[in-house]
Subunit: 212 residues, 2 copies
């Protein structure tokens, strides 16, 4: 019996191509394809037989990688989820692993290695590629394991601060005193561990707290 695979990726061309490729592997078949997390969950609900492994991209519209992984872990605990992403930054990897992924594969993996990885995940429950194994330990040592929690006002301020505006301009846009703005700035500097507005803006982008 073939190993059943599900895929969620918003790049349609990649999704269909990859599906083709996997189908060409001897022991695998693709049972569900989706362009985002929500579509995946809907299609899953309609299936009688669930996939063994679901490949999930980190960045997707409507419902992103981490959210999708969490949902699957909750509703289909028997299904193994594997992150498949081109991003290899700490935050992407961490957010997926934290959500409950069994492996983190990069899109520039070679097809043969990819097949091997899928087989290993099916058999052992995990896969130790260069990236996930080596970096994972380092990541666990680091402080940024705790998720950064921002309040609503902080989020609004942060988005506005990622711009060419002065704090004075931001204050008037938010109908607040400059001193209040300064409070949010202070608080965000601490949470993001930076010393300057530029650093804050860049960290915010890296951590996907704002989008460019």
């Amino acid at each position: 019996m073939k190993i059943r695979i599900g895929i969620a990726d918003d790049q349609q061309l990649f999704l269909r191509s990859l599906s083709n490729l996997i189908t060409s592997f001897k022991d695998f078949e693709v049972v569900v394809e989706a362009l985002n997390g929500l579509e995946l969950l809907k299609k899953l609900a309609a299936l009688n037989v669930y996939p063994d492994i679901i490949l999930i991209d980190v960045q997707m519209p409507v419902m992103d990688g981490p959210a999708t992984v969490k949902e699957i872990a909750l509703n289909y605990p028997a299904v193994t989820t594997v992150a498949l992403s081109m991003k290899e930054d700490d935050y992407s990897i961490l957010s997926m692993l934290r959500a409950g992924c069994s492996a983190y594969l990069l899109k520039d993996i070679h097809p043969q290695e990819f097949e091997r990885a899928l087989t290993e995940v099916k058999n052992t429950g995990y896969y130790n590629g260069d990236v996930s194994s080596v970096n994972y330990r380092r990541l666990l040592r680091r402080q940024d394991i705790e998720e950064i929690k921002l309040t609503e006002r902080e989020k609004t301020f942060l988005k506005l601060a990622c711009s060419d505006f002065t704090y004075k301009e931001i204050a008037s846009k938010m109908f607040l005193s400059e001193k209040t703005i300064d409070g949010y700035r202070e608080s965000l500097f601490q949470k993001l561990n930076v010393k300057s507005r530029t650093g804050m803006a860049l960290e915010a982008i890296k951590k996907n707290l704002v989008t460019l």
Copy 2:
């Protein structure tokens, strides 16, 4: 006779999958695959019969999309180049079209539409997808058509400025006076049309002058 395709993309899994897909199209065959621009050029030089169309990703290590397109336009004028990217921001599209691409396709295109696009490029020399046609005119109206040309020192400074460092720290890293640094800052503010360091950093990222 089949239409010969070349592909350059640094995501190996995508590259091989796409190659598979194209091979499955009735009228197409893949004659060259490469993980970056330089590899593509090397492999091209070794061929007797050149591809009709080469698909090129925007972001690649070693030699990126625009540079590769320029080289091909120069050395193989009979070969049509097509950008194939997931990025649909103005700067990516512009830089590829300016380099000489005949079309700009997004990776979230549907395989059938993709096949149609390739056929159209082969027959008419171009393809009008939603993105390229609609946005292209708008792009041409805009000011940012002029490429932003930075000097070497400006580039080095800009990369360092996209950080949590102070100018003083940057100055010492570059073994320059703070006043010299201030000169580069001034010049970059003009070229990027911003009023603050944060604005500068964000513009730099948007315009792909620095990578996060």
